[in-house]
Subunit: 488 residues, 2 copies
């Protein structure tokens, strides 16, 4: 057994955020240096966490990642060891980037050929789209035109920090047609994915010790942003109709609330839709108590059943609503395209913030996508993808019902690209991650929610990016994983 004090572990304590990336990198470095030799036993996660003074979950996440990358292996009931056969550079690149070379033919009808399975693992993300469905050639042509038109005009330089005019117009048109949201060019700002929309919203609104309300369970990456701007997070619970507004009002009576971050369309992670009555009352409360509403309207496009609902930003004509959305779900997260719709005053302040952060977005991507929107190509893709996703949603529903009802509870989500499942048994996060890795099941870490005692509260299982055979494999491995957790 390796003594942890043999490791060159100087973690940065300056950051108040999770340090699992630091641990991962340290271990890889020690293995490369030869100080951690193949077959050597790694310290237990609790031991290492205590020594480093970090949360045990941090160490667990690092170990899970190291096993997935091939640096460590886990042996049932024995512990975690440095791998006998270390990943060399090429394998590492392949595994880190997980790409299929262009000359390797991919048969889209046979999804066993795709990367989701080819490294042996099958993965549940938290609700990403399937980019294999994209109309590649049309998109590639749009990129080519964008490159040539802007490059030849010598205009592939600095442009409007709010984003290309034609893209902003195209997005406004989409919001107006599909979400009834009427806003002008002075109200919209393009951002690099909805994460940057959240970051900008926080930078515009939040100062030290401001109270920001989030739902009991919420997107960790949003909570991190608010806290980094000094917010005190307060949690309000959710039920089958969404946010508990009585609880919210009680809180507002006790203390000033600066802003509330909500995902009314499909609550993240639980997929619950906020009822119309609650939406109306939330807007009234915002006026009454003077707080801002940061509305994260991810995956709005994919609504499979239930009554269609408009965003809060459509119902309310208030300057207090910041509406955030992205093209990640209808196109691809890797293109980093999102938008923030807000009052003219807030949007004009975004200019200064963006000039400091990254000056502007990627012009080629903005031009190409605005063309895809203007020609209707994007809309055709969304309609086609929505049909595929609806089939997969039904398949996922059937698979969970047929094989997992002993272990999990869930509801069929009315929209969005993920199911929310809760466990019938108490399952420890550590045991679950260990078993999942053993059974070659990967789950995006941010999709797993656990409580203060490290028991899993629920998992958000994205279904859209998995083909039918991949879904079967993934659910079957989840069953084996849970079975092992419950038995042990």
């Amino acid at each position: 057994m390796l003594r942890v004090w043999d490791l060159d572990f100087e973690l940065s304590k300056d950051s108040h955020l999770s340090m699992h990336a630091q641990i991962t990198s340290k271990v890889i470095k020690e293995i490369r240096r030869g100080r951690l030799k193949p077959k050597v036993a790694m310290p237990g996660t609790r031991k290492l966490a205590d020594t480093l003074g970090v949360n045990r979950k941090t160490v667990l996440l690092a170990y899970t990642e190291l096993v997935e990358q091939g640096w460590l292996t886990t042996e049932r009931n024995r512990g975690t060891f440095v791998s006998e056969k270390l990943p060399d550079t090429i394998e590492r690149q392949y595994s880190e980037e997980g790409l299929t070379p262009l000359n390797q033919q991919v048969n889209l009808n046979d999804d066993s050929a795709t990367v989701a399975i080819q490294d042996g693992f099958v993965e549940f993300n938290d609700g990403d789209p399937d980019t294999r469905l994209l109309p590649f050639e049309n998109i590639a042509r749009a990129f080519r035109r964008a490159l040539i038109v802007s490059g030849r005009s010598n205009k592939l330089g600095y442009q409007n920090p709010l984003g290309m005019l034609s893209l902003r117009e195209a997005v406004l048109h989409m919001l107006s047609m599909h979400r009834g949201l009427n806003a002008g060019l002075e109200n919209i700002c393009m951002v690099r994915g909805s994460q940057m929309g959240i970051y900008l919203a926080a930078s515009l609104l939040i100062k030290d010790d401001d109270c920001v309300v989030v739902e009991t369970l919420a997107r960790q990456s949003a909570e991190n942003v608010f806290e980094s701007f000094g917010a005190n997070l307060m949690r309000v619970d959710i039920d089958q109709d969404g946010l508990n507004l009585d609880a919210l009002e009680k809180l507002c009576k006790k203390q000033p609330v600066r802003a509330i971050y909500v995902t009314p369309h499909h609550q993240y992670p639980t997929t619950v839709m906020m009822s119309k009555a609650r939406r109306a009352r939330l807007l009234l409360l915002a006026e009454q108590y003077g707080f801002y509403i940061i509305e994260d309207d991810y995956a709005h496009e994919f609504q499979f059943s239930g009554e269609p609902a408009f965003p809060l930003a459509t119902y309310g004509e208030s300057d207090r609503i910041l509406h955030i959305g992205s093209l990640s779900k209808i196109l691809a997260p890797g293109l980093r395209l999102g938008y923030l719709v807000a009052s003219e005053q807030l949007v004009s302040r975004c200019v200064d913030e963006i000039m400091m952060i990254d000056i502007q977005g990627n012009l080629i991507t903005e031009m190409a996508v605005s063309e895809l929107m203007a020609t209707g190509e994007l809309k055709r893709h969304v309609l086609k993808a929505a049909k595929v996703y609806e089939e997969r949603r039904h398949a996922m529903d059937a698979l969970l019902r047929d094989t997992l009802l002993d272990f999990v509870d869930f509801n069929l989500p009315e929209g969005g690209l993920a199911f929310w499942v809760t466990f019938k048994h108490q399952v420890k996060l550590e045991a679950f991650l260990t078993q999942a890795t053993l059974h070659k099941l990967r789950i995006t870490p941010s999709a797993i929610f656990s409580d203060a005692n490290d028991h899993i509260v629920g998992i958000r299982l994205g279904f859209a990016s998995l083909g039918m055979r991949e879904l079967e494999q993934a659910v079957s491995r989840l069953r084996t994983t849970l079975n092992a957790c419950v038995k042990s």
Copy 2:
């Protein structure tokens, strides 16, 4: 004359940054609403600045932009008026985005056909490349492959926040081959242009009231970032060998210095190179007084004469150096690709910051560019572009000598893509901007440096993006502009 209190001008005072974008947008709105009618005289800039409680430069910048966009017109000795013929949407889009349609043939040998002249204006930016020189078809093919390879693998989603492994490896290789900089994968983080490198550096290092040293004249967008993180900026002067280190040391003896932001390779804006002796001493001072060095190494590739010099990050093996660079000058600013090279500890903290800001960069762009670097395509382009830029540098030198020596002083820059010119006469910023607009000369606002009395200190004139005939026109218009300023 319009009374300014007739305007619906509620500027946001929350932001401590410039508000010219707000004013621009307000004026456009008032014109669209019909409250500011064609031919109406606008209030004088001093008057409006006083009423709004903003700096006069802010109003000047807004007016200049409004004239360029066609909303206002300036008449010699009479003032500024709402345009008789307002720009309609299509004209506005064309002008805002300044693009040549793909079906309009562009003859690269005849640069009079390009946009730099076609709207009647010719523009000096502060040192951007000429994207007309790019190997479009090869880049378009790389984008197409990136899109298909990543999309088909269903990997056009979320990846490593530090950037694609293959791109980080390609950039490290470039830094090692051309700048002698030996760093590992654990030391590099891809960012969206060097601006984001500066933003990350500030977020990692700067807290309220930290002292940050900048050169007397420095990049405004960097100063804004440091100040937004609470820094106290202290200025140290520069001479023909770069930063005055005696002055820096004197400052360090008086108070703790947290960081210094420098552009040693070609000082921004003055283009001066820091001598080797000073570089060595700056590194020693950093150790002695415990400050960080934020080295902005923009446009490193274009060194036309003088001794080649390595970055500070190459000379010093210190954890105190954050080296920032970008691919904006060798490719195109609109692709937003930059990098930060720093200690492993700082880079691992970047992960958390990036996860909050934008999660990761644009995957298609990262993949395509890493291919262009791996195949040597980018290097071939740089060699070709450098030859063109060297010719333009000579042409610019000759033009300035032949026609502008009555008005300006300058030195031929040893590297970089801009000249620094100072004026022999006192010229007021307002008069200069007015005359430049009248003579259809546009100058990137951030390239003009003025003092507390609104006198112009100097202008950074980018030469690389202008063809020979464009350069002639631009210099000739600058002469007419200066002539008018000095006479009036």
